[in-house]
């Protein structure tokens, strides 16, 4: 044990800056008059952008801090960048929407910043204590945000998210306790050393499985997905956009880190569970999405289905040769998912009206006549969700399927391809509505939304032509 040094603080510099900024913002917000909360939004975005600047300076560094409590490596830097991007986009889509829906309050941005900081800590966690603390730091602000409109639906979403989130936390904590009992340590590398020296046993496997259950709730994997459609539908759409991207990245990043660092020795027991979870999540998510008529619920099931695709990257985690490729494929797909998901939600937000109107699929009829650019962008996102060229979604799925086939799980790749084909049915239904039916939709024009929609649509298409470069970036983001 050594006292914390300045270098320790450097390892979590972006996280520290963001937390301090969020606390200051909470105080500064008190002095910002009511109708001018755009200033708070701007300050929050400024804080995220500044944090991103510091995160960029940490590229290529690799160290640990606070007696092996946190890692700083390519993996965490990549994840931090992704999380900061989703925080920025989260503010961009929220700003106009909150004003329009009459929920423009300064706490929104503080809570969002705190949640992002929890997610960043999650990406750097090197000890199960930190994983637990980060999980709570990211979740508790999200519970509040989900109930932010103070309407009954929103509060209901908040309570449901809270109860099931706390339930999931119980699983994570109990799993951690059993892992501690089996190995005598909570440090990820310590668990790996103790487990590979042969002291492992039933206790360790059960502990790992319980941790998997807890995170399964967080990333909305079947059979732990029941809360997702209700919460995504009831929460303010701006929160849903942020939650479905940020919380999912954080959950998957933590799972990747914990499983690849601490539990490779029990992969024989866990691979089957992960395989089944991934397959059933893809199947259930895509099939149930077909029958949805509300776009928020449809996208909620789509996000469940995509959790299944990302889970594919975990299945070969015990195979040392395939692990780097599958981690890179998982990270790449997370980027794909964030861009596409935020774009799609931004379109939903621009069509949403007060009192939850404008959220049915039929409300998208005739969109291409009146707003050709918006309809084109939505088409890009839908194609990217399906995995259709020339979009990033196609490339992401290609890398994922390649990784699982390299790991020898051909049947899982087949399930992935078949469910992607099935998903085309409900994604293309949106496109058909926009281009082939008549209607008179009214979309809001807000700078934040226009920015998000255009930048994500352009990135989704353009980046798909230079995927090697991005994949290289994801491959350098390896675990220590």
């Amino acid at each position: 044990m050594t006292q914390p040094q300045l270098t320790d603080f450097y390892t979590i510099l972006p996280f520290t800056i963001l937390v301090v900024w969020a606390c200051l913002l909470l105080l500064v917000d008190l002095y910002i008059p009511k109708g001018r909360k755009s200033i708070t939004a701007f300050l929050a975005a400024f804080g995220l952008a500044g944090t991103m600047g510091f995160a960029i300076t940490q590229t290529g560094l690799s160290s640990t801090g606070f007696n092996n409590m946190v890692f700083l490596d390519g993996f965490s830097t990549y994840a931090n960048m992704l999380l900061l991007i989703s925080g920025l986009l989260g503010i961009a889509v929220a700003h106009g929407y909150n004003k329009r829906m009459g929920i423009e309050r300064g706490e929104y941005y503080t809570l969002l910043l705190l949640s992002v900081s929890g997610m960043m800590l999650m990406a750097q966690a090197a000890d199960l204590i930190i994983v637990f603390l980060a999980l709570e730091l990211l979740s508790i602000p999200l519970y509040v945000l989900a109930a932010f409109t103070r309407k009954l639906e929103s509060e209901e979403a908040g309570v449901k998210y809270f109860l099931l989130g706390a339930f999931a936390t119980g699983f994570v904590v109990y799993g951690t306790a059993l892992v501690f009992g089996a190995t005598g340590t909570t440090s990820l590398t310590g668990i790996f050393l103790a487990a590979s020296s042969g002291t492992s046993g039933l206790l360790l496997t059960i502990g790992a499985a319980l941790i998997l259950v807890g995170f399964g709730f967080k990333v909305a994997a079947v059979p732990f997905h029941m809360w997702t459609p209700d919460v995504y539908q009831g929460a303010p759409t701006s929160v849903t956009a942020f939650m479905s991207s940020g919380a999912k990245i954080a959950g998957f990043v933590a799972l990747l880190r914990v499983f690849a660092t601490a539990f490779p020795s029990i992969s024989a027991d866990l691979t089957g569970i992960l395989w089944a979870m991934s397959a059933i999540t893809m199947i259930v998510g895509n099939f149930v999405a077909i029958s949805q008529t509300n776009i928020k619920r449809m996208l909620a099931y789509s996000s469940i289905a995509h959790a299944g695709y990302i889970l594919m990257a975990f299945v070969p985690y015990g195979n040392k040769d395939v692990l780097p490729v599958s981690i890179a494929a998982g990270l790449f797909y997370l980027l794909t998912y964030v861009l596409t998901n935020f774009g799609a939600w931004a379109v939903v937000i621009s069509l949403e009206k007060a009192e939850g109107k404008g959220l049915e699929l039929s409300d998208y009829a005739g969109l291409s006549r009146k707003y050709p650019a918006l309809a084109a962008a939505m088409t890009v996102f839908m194609l990217s969700f399906i995995g259709f060229p020339p979009t990033l979604g196609m490339v992401g799925k290609f890398y994922l399927f390649r990784a699982v086939i390299a790991g020898g799980f051909n049947s899982l790749a087949v399930i992935g391809v078949v469910t992607s084909l099935i998903s085309a049915y409900y994604y293309l239904r949106v496109v058909v509505n926009m281009y082939m039916r008549d209607g008179d939709p009214v979309a809001e024009r807000e700078p934040g939304l226009a920015f998000t929609t255009s930048i994500t649509a352009i990135a989704t298409v353009v980046l798909s032509f230079i995927p090697q470069w991005l994949f290289l970036l994801a491959s350098t983001a390896l675990l220590r």
């Binding site: 204590i129 709570e136 519970y143 009954l152 309570v159 339930f167 119980g170 009992g181 459609p229």
Partner: protein, 102 residues
């Protein structure tokens, strides 16, 4: 001293955890569900302190402090949400929280 084997503690905690998990799934009152979640967390705490004394290591006990502190923070948010729902509906039965469906 130290005559109770650690297995007993683990068994007791497993029972507590199972009771808590069943409570969350079966009971319909959010406050009871909430108590069941606390039971699950405390089952974990029991494992931590039991093994901390076996390993003669403090990290298990420190983890318990973290769990207690975070659970308190969670309670604050959770009760606030439940109070808001109660104000709107004069009722907090989970089965009646069904305005979201599809």
């Amino acid at each position: 001293m130290n005559s109770v084997p650690v297995d007993y503690y683990v068994l007791l905690s497993a029972v507590l955890f199972a009771i808590g998990a069943m409570g969350v799934l079966i009971r319909r009152n959010p406050l009871i569900i909430f108590m069941s979640i606390e039971l699950m967390l405390n089952a974990a705490n029991l494992v931590f302190v039991a093994y901390a004394s076996v390993f003669k290591s403090f990290s298990g006990q420190i983890f318990v402090f973290f769990v207690i502190a975070v659970a308190a923070a969670e309670v604050a948010v959770g009760l606030a949400l439940i109070v808001q729902i109660f104000k709107a509906k004069k009722n907090i039965n989970i089965d009646e929280l069904n305005s979201l469906k599809g």
